[in-house]
Symmetry: C2
Subunit: 243 residues, 2 copies
DNA sequence: CTATGTGAATGGGTTCACAGCT
DNA sequence: AGCTGTGAACCCATTCACATAG
């Protein structure tokens, strides 16, 4: 289905960041070689990635920083406002809410939700935490585009389903579990006989078209452990070609 | 270089998590089809991923949960102690330090480091924050395996270099920048601020062999924006085969 | 002579079909 | 029969060489 590699999108984000940095340093021009070196990939890769979306450079010259930056912003959809709710306002949720950089590019936190009575009603970063039962109406009334999911793992599937039911178009999942259209885990410790309890067909719970991206700190930690023990399996961050 | 796909390692972490969950539910047996459904991949994929590391199942029967779990723990290197330092103890660093789940599998936070006078000396999660200038000695004396990097983006490269110089074998980078063996960005007219620490030769100023994994929340947010606008480019989380 | 843009080749990862145990 | 394990086919992403434009 993917005519553009998903890895290319990740790299585009990196290129954009490098362009921002160059801009603050008043560097006005760059090249695929330069970008490649800074991004830790090859120059071929940079040119191919950019070519998926258009022709942004000048042959023999390279790229003009502000122009390429503007084009990448457009390609990535960062020239519009994104309304975001955070579900789960514990330590992690609050760290996310307060992390600088999200407000660049018009990502706006418009609502915070939790179930804990200790949190509901509290004020975090100029927003009042609401109970998750108010999520549905809120999403409808405020044109929420995406939800950031920062609840404990055992709550993640249900909270994700609530976001989908409410109508968000994307979920950034920080919980260390797979969320998705699976049936709500009806497999309690009940012997191993096939209790085919495929009950409950929810109402408008349609995951079709909902995008899920995962940001999984614990998984990263475990991958790191593995690659420390098996360094030869990792394409090292040592570039050395940028041909 | 990679005879085992890096994506396979990520999936192994997911399988392990599912097995843990099954174990808490007293489910003793599973199958590639079952794991596939829960992990959101195909059963082919599960079997192939496991086959990279051995033969863990019984033909005609499936997998025994505790056995497969034990084997994955071993494969991923989670049956040993990992000593971790956190560099950067702001909101994000503290959220990481307090996030539950890291202490499973013997990931132990043994040191916290920062440069801020407001933080150094403070106590966070039964550890006293130390100044980053003490990092080198600390890593040597405490056999630190990995560093979690949670400093602001403009400090990330230098802090990463400090970790490498100190001799850690892996870095989990939370900062939204590419860190690596590049020269320290001295591209603006800036006299060398004689960081006289030219102790670059003894232990390891060398990035060779150092593993870097990135956990980048802002990048995930931007990828999510892109895929919401271009849903057809994303292999959706809707499984539907698990053949 | 420079550096981009792109069709073609290469290579790696996923999918498949079936061989092999139970 | 049922389900794992695996060589082979397939497909997609990266790499390359070179045509193209400045």
């Amino acid at each position: 289905m993917a005519e553009i590699p998903t890895a290319a999108i990740s790299r585009l984000v990196t290129y954009l960041r490098i362009l921002e940095q160059l801009e603050t340093q008043d560097v006005s021009r760059t090249s695929s070689t330069d970008l490649a070196e800074r991004a830790g990939v090859t120059a071929f890769q940079v040119r191919k990635d950019l070519a998926y979306f258009g022709r942004f450079g000048t042959r023999g010259m390279g790229y003009t920083v502000p122009i390429l930056k503007r084009e990448l912003v457009r390609v990535l959809g960062l020239n519009q406002t994104w309304n975001v709710v955070i579900v789960g306002v514990g330590r992690l949720g609050q760290a996310i809410a307060n992390y600088p950089g999200a407000s660049d590019y018009q990502f706006q936190y418009v609502g915070l939700f939790d179930v804990s009575p200790e949190l509901v009603g509290r004020r975090v970063r100029d927003l009042t935490v609401q109970h998750i039962s108010d999520l549905r109406d809120f999403v409808r009334d405020h044109r929420v585009d995406m939800g950031f999911l920062a609840v404990p793992p055992d709550r993640a599937q249900d909270a994700a389903q609530a976001l989908v039911n409410a109508g968000v178009r994307g979920i950034l999942n920080f919980a260390p579990v797979v969320i998705g259209p699976r049936p709500p885990e009806g497999r309690t410790a009940e012997g191993h006989s096939h209790n085919a309890a495929h009950a409950l067909q929810e109402s408008g719970d349609d995951w079709r078209g909902v995008i899920v991206e995962n940001v999984d700190f614990l998984a990263g930690m475990k991958r790191l452990a593995f690659y420390i023990l098996n360094p030869h399996l990792k394409d090292s961050p040592v570039p050395e070609d940028t041909a």
